[in-house]
Amino acid sequence: MTAPAAPPDRDQALQLLHGMLRIRRFEERCAELYGQTKIRGFLHLYIGEEAIAVGVMRALTPDDAVVATYREHGHALARGIPMTAVMAEMYGKASGCSRGRGGSMHLFDAGLHFYGGNAIVAGGLPLAIGLALADKLQNRPRVTACFFGEGAVAEGEFHESMNLAALWKLPVLFLCENNLYAMGTALERSEAQTEVQEKARAYGMPGIAIDGMDVTMVDSSAQQAVAEVRAGGGPQLLELRTYRFRAHSMFDAERYRDKAEVEAWKRKGPLVRFIDRGKREHWFDDGDIAQIERTVSEEIQAAVDFAETSEWEPVAELTRDVYTPWPTP
């Protein structure tokens, strides 16, 4: 059922590689900065799952909407929020993309239709329904891409949202990032039926499972799904099979899974695989990779510098933006 992945040309391949490496290195730096207490609160790394955000975002137009979770650095960067603004947000600076209010879990960008960073599991799904409903009622040919983990599938809001989307034939693309664990809870300990895409059928919705570690496969599947949804075919569910290489958050001792399991998955990681293949198929060579690494590293350093030198929001501004300025009549 999955679309055949058209091999990328050299430019596309370099873009995909750049997109993934950029997220990977950014997050590696974030982990270091966390150790240095520059970043605080919860920090959920996307390392291992980069192919999904990079592959899916390519399928969207600037007008489409994105709803993501607390594990959304990758989505924010791939969508185009400047790395400076994202890093400043992680620092809690006023120049952050959420003015320092949100931190790692709540990245927002109105111009890019990036509706957060939602830290309540499944809490973003109803929002996606509403965004898509607004598009439908206003006859806008937009798609809302709604990301969530496989853990969210157990929540009542998943069920309610899937049904509403299907019932009202809304242009929503549900993207279930199935990394097999919700914190320490393996999928088979949370779902009676573990084939997530099977759930879609209970709502009469098309649903397929994709290898989420293969960025070209994600890319082409997302292209096809987005096109169908945009054409008015109603909502779809893509289950993206992936794995998180790091701990759930910086507080997680990972007692629930074997090192060996993690290592096995790392060997199937989106970057190793794409680099292997890209070199084998001569899309790029080591020189290209080194060049990308340099660009990325410069971008990251610039982002850190920006964050470091940005101002703190004055405390006097604490309660701004609780309400929108509005004259009572």
Binding site: A65, G96, R99, F108, P126, L133, A134, Q138, V322
Partner: protein, 334 residues
């Protein structure tokens, strides 16, 4: 139907005032739509939206499945998407299922995004007891909502406010929750043909008086006015304040009144502990402690799940006689 709507009949019901307000909003702003359980074909559990489906069609008078979290969240999303949704949660009792969406999304997204988004959603719900609907269907949880930064919370107690608050709320860029007390829907009074938007941040003095300030809102207003009438017959002139807005609270109006009367009784259908009445009293003593001549008092619901049997339900709720007693005690005639 459309004609009847614009017709200023001499006396109409609170329900009809709400319906006219919905009708006017739907007629004038294409971004406005109404969604909720049984708002369409059924006409609304409390018959508020009767006839609107026929006039505005199923896209704008949108019946939803029983999925409170889902459709309230969808209304929030639709507001983010540029529409002006009015979402009806059939009653406050079911709003708990949507509370996560209201608190963690509607009220929070603006601040959490650094001011990038506003969420202009209006959430209407029926509230309160008095119809013998028993423990699960008789809640008064206004104070929970009034606790939430980022929300505005309104309690129309008169036909003018039933007609006007929704209109104003729809011009507000932030989420507004409107509580309609179930015992008010059938209340009748006159409503001017040109009734429309009202301001939504100030309390109203519904009856002036010099001896004691009675602060109340929503479904308790008629009971409080009744008590004030009885007290007047005994020579006690009570000033009755209708809060109208539960968040923000119009503290100046309350303080000004109490500074004149030097006595206060708050009437609130919420359970006493943790009631909005407690908040009002706290504010008054923080702000005007030395203006008071007597300890403040509250008349609230008893701390019991509201029982079905009429005599027990009556005993659980604020009633005019309890208000009269509380006032007399505060006046030192207790």
């Amino acid at each position: 139907m459309a004609d009847a709507v614009n017709d200023a009949t001499p006396r109409i019901t609170y329900r009809e005032a709400l319906r006219r307000s919905l009708h006017a909003a739907l007629s004038t702003d294409p971004r406005v739509f109404l969604m909720g359980e049984d708002v369409g074909r059924y006409g609304g559990a409390y018959a508020v939206s009767m006839g609107l489906l026929e006039e505005f069609g199923p896209e704008r008078i949108r019946d939803t499945p029983l999925s409170e979290s889902g459709f309230v969240g969808a209304a929030i999303g639709a507001a983010l998407g540029g529409l002006r949704p009015i979402v009806e949660i059939m009653t406050v009792n079911f709003s708990l299922l949507a509370l996560d969406q209201i608190l963690n999304n509607a009220a929070t997204i603006r601040h959490m995004s650094g001011g990038q988004f506003s969420v202009p959603v209006v959430i209407r719900m029926a509230t309160g007891a008095g119809r013998q609907l028993a423990a699960q269907h008789s809640h008064s949880l206004e104070n929970w909502y009034a606790h939430i930064p980022g929300l505005r919370v309104l309690a129309p107690a008169t036909l003018e406010d039933a007609r006007g608050m929704l209109t104003t709320a729809l011009t507000c860029p932030d989420p507004v929750v409107i509580f309609e007390h179930v015992m008010l829907y059938n209340v009748e009074s006159e409503l001017a043909a040109d009734a429309g938007a009202v301001e939504i941040e100030r309390a109203a003095i519904r009856r002036p008086g010099r001896d004691v300030t009675l602060v109340t809102y929503g479904g308790s207003l008629p009971k409080t006015l009744d008590a004030a009438g009885q007290l007047a017959a005994e020579g006690i002139e009570a000033e009755v304040i209708d809060l109208r807005s539960l968040r923000p609270l119009d503290q100046p109006t309350i303080i000004e009144s109490v500074s004149r009367t030097r006595r206060i009784v708050v009437v609130d259908e919420g359970w006493r502990s943790g009631s909005l009445a407690g908040e009002i009293i706290a504010r008054v003593v923080e702000e005007a402690f030395y203006e008071l001549d007597a300890a403040p008092a509250r008349v609230c619901s008893e701390e019991v799940p509201i029982p079905y049997a009429k005599h027990l339900e009556d005993a659980a709720l604020p009633q005019p006689d309890k208000i009269v007693q509380a006032v007399k005690k505060v006046m030192g005639h207790g």
